[in-house]
């Protein structure tokens, strides 16, 4: 017993009416429900499709399809968090550590050079430009992949973008006022470390978003093939 295209569309609309709009969530619910309906109709050939659909939905219990939807959402959260932290930590391996130290040193020297020339304004401008770039890129992708939960969740680390700006403004007065200790401007050194961490964070967030885009694009191709 195989369901027709029209019956599958009815299941999809039913799932949609229950409020599950993301295609990657719908995919698992629709396939599970369709398989269960096929089994029911095979066991009882007299059973009509609408009744089989209602019975299958009822078999999910009071929580309905949200048992699958929650599992998909939580699973994606865990997967992307794991991906993010694994990639973030990889920057502190022997492969990148020299590059990070060099970046911190450069950021520190740049601050000393700009100390009397509005250094924090430069840091602020660079950070805002980075934020604007990130916003533009994520908005561009959202137009094409907004229906995919994997894409939406893969972008969630960008919400912490403003945190770095907060630290820059917090240390602003210290950098300008505090005298160096043994020749080291402590506040500038801390800002340099934060700056490098912020760049690592942004690069990792981009990698995570690209991972989400790749997964969503793969699924999108399947849907395009299905609808062609």
């Amino acid at each position: 017993m195989q369901l027709s295209q029209q019956q599958l569309e009815e299941i999809k609309q039913f799932v949609l009416r229950k409020g599950f709009v993301y295609l990657d969530v719908q995919m698992e619910i629709v396939d599970h429900v369709a398989s269960a309906i096929e089994e029911r109709m095979k066991a009882d050939p007299q059973l009509d499709f609408s009744r089989a659909l209602q019975e299958t939905h009822a078999s999910f219990g009071v929580l309905g399809f949200s048992t699958i939807a929650d599992a998909v959402t939580n699973g994606l959260h865990k997967k992307y968090n794991r991906f993010f932290w694994k990639n973030f930590c990889s920057f502190f391996s022997y492969k990148y550590i020299l590059l990070l130290l060099l970046g911190t040193l450069l950021a520190y020297q740049a601050q000393l050079l700009l100390m009397d020339k509005g250094w924090w304004l430069t840091v602020l401008t660079v950070t805002l430009l980075l934020d604007a770039l990130v916003t533009l890129l994520t908005k561009f992708s959202r137009v094409k992949l907004g229906q995919y939960l994997s894409f939406r969740l893969s972008r969630d680390y960008f919400v912490l973008q403003g945190t770095f700006l907060f630290f820059v403004l917090l240390f602003k007065s210290h950098v300008e006022v505090v005298d160096p200790i043994f020749g080291l401007h402590l506040a500038s050194a801390i800002v340099s470390v934060f700056l490098v961490l912020y760049v690592v964070y942004l690069v990792t967030a981009f990698r995570k978003m690209n991972f989400g885009i790749a997964e969503s694009m793969e699924l999108k191709k399947k849907y395009q093939y299905l609808n062609s």
Binding site: Q2, E28, D31, G75, K79, R82, E218
Partner: protein, 87 residues
Amino acid sequence: MYGYEITQKVKSITQGELLLKEGALYPALHKLEAEGLLETATEVVDNRVRKYYPLSQVGEKAVVNKLQEAKDFIQHLQLLLNLKPTS
């Protein structure tokens, strides 16, 4: 195997004694996927997209330990069930 197929397989192996519900199956599958123990793939089957949950290479190695843990647990449970009350 895909989600519904797993529920049916469990039902058939246990001759209907054990029913694996969606509320237990999908959180477990997605947790294992997030931990990298499953390497999922989607395919177009019967005019719909279906997600399969095969073991990853890491999962294949981990399953040996997990099975041993389960067997040990059952063995210990058996010992507890066989305890006779002392007077």
